[in-house]
Symmetry: C2
Subunit: 394 residues, 2 copies
């Protein structure tokens, strides 16, 4: 049959190496630093059960009936409250509930990108964002990063040479790079979006998983202050702070984009699971999210410390990395000539897997990099993983 137009495009963006990796990472005895999967031991079982009891008692019919494409109004109001705690001011009408960040990005790509439009991403950037932008046939370009996140001066130089439609960025505790955009660069980026009239997609799944005492103010918040909110689209999710299986995320949208996004959401799947939305609302309403985030933050901070210290101690001569200030990932680069994709087979035979870095690039891939997730592995296994990595290097 020759009906599958999309086969080739999707083959390009679903590297079979990664699929194989995911398969192997579930093998007995293998320690996986691969997936970005929250630690299920930290799920708030009691809180989720209480929330479900409230769904079944108080929101019985709503939870099982069709709902608005925009999302459950009570949940959207609760999200506005959460947004104000992140220094973002919005109204219920500005919020659209999605089935997680992945859907937010897919809908935005479909709404914004015409084939050939230039989309600028970080180098490296979130793999699944590359996928949806490629599906929308964007012309992907990248800008380098350092310990302070995206090198915005590089973007400035690029903007002088090419019209840019969208800049996609995970500014806080990024995936995969683990770095955070500095405050001066945040302001500079928002200012550039005005000067060159492009849209910023600010993807913020990890902002609450903050290991420091410093608050990193979202781009959307700077944009309010700089009267440029129309050019920043903010997206976040409950996947990393509550439970990914519910598939509930959200968008904060400027006026000009709302109608199209809601229409696309309707065409895509009518609306996000009413059951998942109702559960999330009742959980937020219970006041348990703040202590739950503190629990996750402390646990991940400790795991990050263990991985960092052991990497530094055992492999400090082989690789360099920026110490994450939050989030779920540590990104490292080998100092010597090393192809982490080719090396994966050997590390697997030593019982440890990671994600090779080259898949996180739309161009100029650096094959000596790798991404390690520390969140769903015990401390003992994080130490063991480092020893296995070390043994696989010789």
């Amino acid at each position: 049959m020759s009906h599958n137009k999309i086969a080739k495009k999707l083959q390009n963006i679903q590297p079979s190496a990664i699929r194989e990796l995911l398969k192997h990472s579930k093998m007995d005895g293998v320690i996986s630093l691969g997936g970005g999967i929250p630690d299920p031991e930290l799920f708030d079982r009691e809180g989720l059960q209480l929330a479900m009891e409230n769904v079944l008692t108080h929101s019985w019919k709503d939870a099982f009936q069709y709902g608005l494409s925009e999302g459950n109004p009570a949940l959207r109001a609760a999200i506005c409250q959460l947004m104000s705690e992140r220094a973002i001011h919005c109204e219920v009408d500005d919020v659209v509930v999605t089935s997680g960040s992945q859907q937010s990005l897919d809908i935005l790509a479909r709404a914004l990108i015409n084939p050939g439009d230039v989309v600028v991403v970080e180098r490296p950037t979130y793999l699944a964002a590359l996928q949806v932008m490629q599906l929308a046939e964007a012309n992907l370009m990248s800008v380098g990063t350092d310990g302070d996140g995206m090198i915005v001066d590089e973007l400035d130089a690029l903007l002088k040479t090419v019209p840019v439609k969208v800049v996609y960025i995970v500014p806080t505790f990024g995936n995969p790079g683990g770095v955070t955009l500095s405050e001066p660069r945040r302001k500079q980026l928002v200012e550039l979006s005005r000067r060159y009239d492009f849209v910023i997609i600010e993807d913020d799944p990890y902002g609450e998983i903050n290991f420091t005492g410093t608050t990193f103010i979202p781009l959307r918040s700077w944009a309010e202050e700089m009267e440029n909110s129309d050019r920043v689209i903010y997206t976040s999710t409950f996947s990393k702070i509550l439970a990914p299986g519910a598939r509930v995320g959200w968008l904060v949208l400027p006026d000009w984009l709302k109608r199209q996004v809601v229409n696309l959401k309707q065409a895509t799947d009518l609306h996000t699971s009413s059951l998942s939305q109702s559960l999330t609302f009742h959980y937020l309403n219970s006041g348990r999210l703040t202590p739950q985030i503190a629990l996750i933050r402390d646990a991940y901070k400790q795991k990050c410390r263990v991985l960092s210290q052991h990497l530094q101690h055992e492999l400090g001569g082989y690789l360099t990395f920026h110490q994450p200030m939050g989030g779920m990932f540590l990104w490292a680069k080998f100092n010597h000539d090393m192809n982490t994709t080719q090396r994966l087979q050997k590390t697997l035979s030593h019982g440890v897997v990671y994600v090779p870095g080259e898949f996180f690039y739309c161009d100029e891939p650096d094959a000596s990099t790798l991404r390690m997730s520390y969140v769903s592995t015990t401390e003992a296994n994080l130490k063991e993983a480092v020893m296995r990595l070390k043994s696989a290097l010789n």
Copy 2:
């Protein structure tokens, strides 16, 4: 801002008249025959609560964690069992869980349709299918229907003149037309798909809501018998037989399409709500679906009879319709010159709304038609609705 490429396309496919209608239909005192919304009074509250208890006891972590893009394997196995009861034979690997039929159609459109590809639909056809096909920039063509469903001879004639990529059809208790494709036409359609090498999308949300003693064998089942399964894609949903709010549907796919659909599903939203999937699995596992379907079938059959009888009695001289053999909709056509879109304002002022028929056409709209849903209105209100319609005609 000029970033909203999709605005115009979506404006075309989201008629503002329908949006207005939906707004008005929630007004106090208005009887709505508009939406295709299951009767929440029939939801199996006890069964759903028991299923949720099982989720929280037995599937606790799975229900809140990331899952496979293909869907929960236990649910897919239960769906295979359900499929065998519908005379369709498939394996777990053939089944992909989606977030309802709408998403099934959107993913299929994205996987199959290149801009300009010819997609043939029934005249009239399901509105939201038109939307996703238009989003995929299909070249939509239509074939007429009568009391035996799609006039397949008309399709045959069309196939001689133009290469067709996909035929989209709701063969059993169709939406909006309420008609069912006869057995000879089913075989003829499957045979044509082989001869002209096109793909049939068989959309079957209503097949179980059967008011007759006759079983209507799915196209996918005929295709098995005729060794042409590769060209029939079957999709169905739990929205009409269990609960739409959970947003759980499924696809039965031929081998050549599986990998692309799973990759698209992953790019779209990673996977359908694990919570909704787990709930659906435990509900199916409880054995309550069969009696629940019987309950829905009997209730809708009775409501359909009430609406039909009163329409015939009060308005038999004004309009004609085919008596539905199942499903949720009655489709009628005025005998005299009548524009149901223009007349809507007046019927609203008399306290009843329906969906004007012209929105269900991709071409050759018949503005004298209308769709009435009978399922979420009481019998008393169905009678009253007919009286109000009558009063609005004068």
